[in-house]
Point group: C2
Chain length 205, copies 2
């Protein structure tokens, strides 16, 4: 047993700190941007989490009582900059590679996706496909329930369900595009121009 219920927060923190060291306040903003659409979080959550990661040796702190900084601008306000330790990096790698059923859920998927840039291509594909089949199950369930109850329910409830259904359908289409583009990339990795403006050159991944 002993499966880690990990907490996506720790994952997200490790992922962000791997990109670049940061202090808590900044981290919190990044996090709210990163997970923004999925979920927000507050200081009451973040700081205890940082303490925990620190006590587990996954991150290291560095105090900035900025005497050191020649900057006259921001003198000594106490900032604590965190960075990943070797153990932290190892741990992050383990988390990145996880792609079990738990990883198809909303939160988990969101965080995993956010760090796809650091994830192996085969894992990316597995997660995208898992997510898709997860959503398809959900669709089936809701459609069945809807068909059963449809005529017996007021139109607002119905409208709510219809809208929910369409949201899920839309995400499935999104996933289809992403999966196609992942496959295209894995089939022929010869080139993939980063242009990223808008439209549909998902090949840039």
């Amino acid at each position: 047993m002993g499966r880690n219920r990990t907490g996506m927060l720790e994952f997200a923190v490790l992922g962000l700190l791997h990109r670049t060291p940061m202090h808590g306040y900044e981290l919190s903003k990044q996090l709210n941007l990163l997970l923004g659409t999925f979920r927000a979080l507050s200081y009451g959550t973040l700081y205890p989490c940082l303490n925990k990661l620190y006590s587990e040796g996954l991150i290291a702190r560095e105090d900035y009582n900025a005497q050191a900084s020649a900057r006259p601008g921001r003198a000594g306000r106490s900032k604590i900059v965190y960075r990943l330790t070797a153990e932290g990096k190892e741990r992050l790698q383990d988390l990145l590679v996880e792609s079990g059923p738990g990883e198809w859920e909303d939160d988990e998927f969101g965080v995993h996706f956010a760090f796809f840039g650091q994830t192996r291509a085969d894992i990316r594909l597995r997660i995208l496909e898992g997510r898709r089949s997860r959503l398809e199950d959900r669709l089936e369930g809701v459609r069945a329930a809807l068909a059963r109850t449809a005529e017996r329910v007021d139109s607002y409830t119905l409208e709510l369900q219809r809208h929910g259904l369409e949201s899920v359908e839309r995400e499935v289409r999104w996933l289809n595009e992403l999966i196609a583009s992942e496959r295209r990339f894995q089939a022929g990795p010869q080139m993939a121009e980063s242009h990223t403006d808008r439209g549909s050159e998902k090949e840039s991944f």
Copy 2:
């Protein structure tokens, strides 16, 4: 002071029981269908909630030890059917009429919307408009953040944010349609026929 943090669950339970008395298990399925897209919940949450509502006198229980049923076999399986008391109905009315800023959030909005069929027209409009402005604020925030960080971030993160943004934009369009249709209805209740295909008979409320 004394603002109720109410818990949307209690609201949803009262709302469902107002439509028709039910026992816990059935309630749980209805609830998961009703809030389905928004959130699921488990027995560990529901039963304690029912007990609480009962102890507050908002709902009444009725045991079904199905001797009554034609089946003479064993003492029937114990089902507990719940129905709203007078106090419960009163309480539900209070909740239905609430339309403060808290009511524009995801969960709150979902539950309120699900019971729009029992909500006064002016309140419906207030909630829809509040929700919309809530989402518009969110859009602005995300867009700003996106503009600030856009070029400094890998394309997966960007794609995630773009998709999130589009989801919100889509919900705003949905709300626009609903608001328009509510206004049409309030302006001239004689008829509000228009496209919106299956959604248009809001007059039935």
